[in-house]
């Protein structure tokens, strides 16, 4: 296990194998939460925390767990972790909990977390799993924030509304209001989430194609 390429893992998590844009997982929390960039950020960070912990734990016990009971074991682990996060936030980060409370429990059913446990942590060491969890979590957060921002901007004409409630008053500068634009309500509603996600997916594919073309173009003279 010495030949783990951390760069590869990070790149996969953030872009190539992005939970939302490449694997199309975790769409339920995605649709429910991304009515604003702030919500997306909060949910993303909470998910990242759970993802890292779950990956580390699963990686630790991977040699003990037998194939027959691995899914119940993972599910119990993840549910426990989420409940602990939920309780802890409620107790000690109460203001943040008021913004995100509804969505924390949703992390249990986030298939991306079980998915990473099944496909990565169970096969790799603790360090690699932690990095993978972090990269995947940040990729997920990025996607949530991006989709939240798009929907918020088109739907309400604001950016990062209420960010100061999540991150503290010093982040109030993030909050932007477009003057004179009332917003298209559809984008805040669930159908808007699907439409926006569709266009973002198309955008990623276009970027990927452009990147592949550039790579091919730069590889050619080297080969010749």
């Amino acid at each position: 296990m010495s030949d783990i390429q951390y760069g590869r893992i990070i790149k996969d998590g953030l872009w190539e194998q992005n939970v939302v844009f490449a694997q199309m997982l975790a769409l339920c929390p995605l649709m429910a939460v991304t009515t604003s960039g702030t919500n997306g950020l909060g949910m993303g960070l909470a998910s990242t925390a759970v993802l890292v912990c779950a990956n580390v734990l699963v990686s630790l016990i991977r040699k003990v767990v037998s194939a027959q009971v691995r899914i119940p074991v993972f599910i119990v682990l993840i549910a426990t972790l989420v409940t602990i996060v939920d309780l802890a936030m409620n107790a000690w980060l109460h203001e943040l909990y008021k913004v995100l409370g509804l969505f924390i429990a949703l992390i249990v059913v986030n298939c991306a977390i079980l998915g990473r446990s099944e496909s990565f942590a169970v096969k790799n060491g603790v360090a690699a799993s932690a990095v993978d969890g972090l990269a995947m979590g940040l990729g997920f957060t990025g996607a949530l924030v991006l989709l939240g921002l798009v929907r918020e901007f088109l739907g309400a004409g604001t950016l990062f509304a209420q960010a100061s409630q999540l991150l503290g008053p010093s982040f109030a500068f993030l909050e932007v209001q477009v003057p004179g634009y009332g917003g298209a309500l559809l984008m805040i509603l669930p159908p808007g989430a699907f439409a926006a996600l569709g266009f973002l997916l198309a955008g990623k594919r276009i970027i990927d194609r452009k990147l592949a073309e550039r790579e091919a173009a730069s590889a050619e003279p080297a080969a010749a």
């Binding site: 917003g183 298209a184 569709g198």
Partner: protein
């Protein structure tokens, strides 16, 4: 001659064609829409004309843009099939006559890009593009989309001239209160919500009119002219009677029953039939080839579904009008209807098993 050079251009039979074409069909539908459209211009003046023209223009522009972006080689052929023009036209017919310019542009974008091209272009869309745009606009911008202007020949104010019409269209300034008016359905819904009996409410409310002397969308007002267009389409065989009749029946039957039971709570069948987008929906939207079932049985089910849902939404839903929502819901059902309503294959029973061979034939 070698076989290879010969096989290059193989064409199967038939070697004759009936002469029907996509563009001819689209042209006929547009022709059928013309009387109601012209009448709409007369009712609502220049702003309605600007809205109509810009909606069509933006639909065509977005069509060209999408085709260019997708790198389709047949931009011209696809453009001249007239489908984008028709989508824009139908959308414009359902908009409030004095809606501002950006409604037309955003509507064109939603109809063509989101409603049609994203699904793969002509023939591939699941939902009727014009109705997708109509619903998306209504949900997104409820304010300008529910601002109805009274037909000008009925209003006390003079008709705006060309320049002031342009100003109304481009600046989206609020329309003076004296010119606005509620639609019959909207009025009934508001009064009912206040707990006022319909019999009393309709005394003061807008009248029913076969010739569009009431507030409403720019192209929907004159039920009689829409009906004429529909009959023209029936006679030229562009559409069949199944879907339109089913839509009208689907609204009229429950409406008549409910009205007979409780006239204070439910509008009459006539009021339903002559209101909102029902006539337009029955003859021009429910008959959309792409998004309706293929078989006549399927079309009847589809039409009844639209009618019934329209009545349910109008009577119990949050919005006063429900044709567009009903159409979209039934569009989503179309593949299911198509799956279960197949024509019987000659020589087979409905399940596809060969017929029994009679013993003593």
């Amino acid at each position: 001659m070698t076989p290879a050079t010969l096989t290059a251009q193989t064409v199967a039979s038939p070697h004759a064609h009936g002469g029907n074409s996509v563009s001819r069909t689209m042209f006929r539908v547009q022709l059928a829409l013309l009387p109601a459209t012209l009448y709409g211009f007369w009712l609502y003046g220049w702003p309605a004309f600007f809205l109509w023209a810009l909606t069509i223009l933006s639909c065509v522009a977005f069509e060209v843009l999408s085709l260019k972006l997708m790198g389709t080689p047949r931009v011209k052929a696809t453009l001249f099939d007239g489908s984008a023009v028709l989508t824009g036209w139908l959308l414009a017919m359902t908009l409030p006559p004095w809606a501002p310019w950006w409604v037309a542009v955003v509507g064109g974008f939603i109809a063509i890009v989101i409603g049609k091209q994203v699904f793969g272009g002509l023939g591939q869309n699941v939902f009727n593009p014009a109705m997708v745009a109509r619903v998306a606009l209504l949900v997104s911008f409820p304010l300008p989309l529910t601002l109805w202007v009274a037909p000008l020949p009925m209003s006390t104010l003079p008709t705006p001239d060309f320049v002031s019409s342009l100003r109304i269209f481009l600046t989206s300034l609020p329309v003076p209160d004296a010119m606005t008016s509620a639609t019959l359905l909207g009025h009934a819904k508001t009064e009912l919500a206040r707990g006022i009996d319909l019999a009393t409410a309709l005394h003061a409310g807008p009248d029913l009119s076969w010739i569009g002397m009431r507030a409403g969308s720019f192209g929907e007002s004159a039920a009689i002219l829409i009906l004429c267009g529909g009959l023209y389409l029936l006679i030229t065989r562009v559409i069949t009677w199944h879907a339109p009749l089913a839509v009208l029946a689907g609204v009229a039957i429950p409406a008549a029953i409910a009205h007979a039971v409780d006239p204070g709570r439910f509008l009459s069948a006539e009021a339903h039939l002559l209101s909102g987008a029902l006539m337009l929906g029955a003859f021009f939207i429910a008959t959309d080839y792409v998004t309706s079932p293929n078989t006549t049985t399927g079309q009847i089910i589809f039409g009844l579904g639209i009618g019934l849902l329209t009545w349910v939404i109008r009577s119990f839903g949050g919005y006063p009008e429900g044709v567009a929502f009903a159409v979209l819901l039934m569009n989503a059902m179309t593949p299911v209807i198509d799956r279960f309503c197949k024509p019987r294959i000659l020589g087979r029973d409905r399940k596809g098993k060969p017929l029994d061979i009679p013993e003593n034939a």
